[in-house]
Symmetry: C2
Subunit: 112 residues, 2 copies
């Protein structure tokens, strides 16, 4: 089980580099918006709903196994994902990195 | 295949009554917000992620079969749904009513 502490500032650039290179964004906390969370976000595009929901199903099974779940929105072939760790004060933790990495793996072996 | 024309105002109250009674809301078009759609919306709550995603999977299969897909957001045990018909000018059509009715059936046979 990955640590549920927030990533340290010093380790972020190294740990997040592969995800940022793959199109993930690091949404910072916004002190003006108390509800804003630090989060990893990405929008995935697929050929159609079948592919998009197939991806979501693979992610759902992995998420449940890790007991760490995404916030996500789907319409047709589009899946918008937000990953944050509630138990780390709504910051990004290694759990989010692990789930994002799995999403990349699933999407890359599925997208046309 | 259900008609893809918007529901007539005269038939809305009759056709939508069972859904409104079950907690669905009819979101009106907002002339001040050009992108706002007429839509049926509802937030479903389940026991946990397994139940929520199980519901989503049943809906996904029915949606694909009907070639009519929801806009939906999920986090853990919560599923927020918005149904509208793009081909009816982003208005509510019989297709949305049919999908909402199926969602009620699936949720009622699943929720604790």
């Amino acid at each position: 089980m990955s640590a549920i502490t927030a990533l340290a500032t010093s380790e972020k650039s190294t740990i997040l580099a592969p995800l940022l290179a793959a199109g993930w964004k690091l949404q910072p906390k916004d002190s003006n918006t108390p509800k804003a969370k630090e989060a990893l976000t990405k929008t995935f595009h697929f050929s159609d709903f079948n592919e998009a929901f197939g991806f979501m199903t693979r992610v759902a099974i992995a998420a449940e196994k890790a007991d760490h779940h995404p916030e996500w929105f789907n319409v047709y072939n589009r899946v918008e994902v937000l990953l944050t760790t509630h138990d780390a004060g709504n910051s990004v933790s290694k759990r989010d990195v692990d789930l994002a990495t799995k999403m990349e793996e699933f999407a890359s072996t599925q997208r046309k």
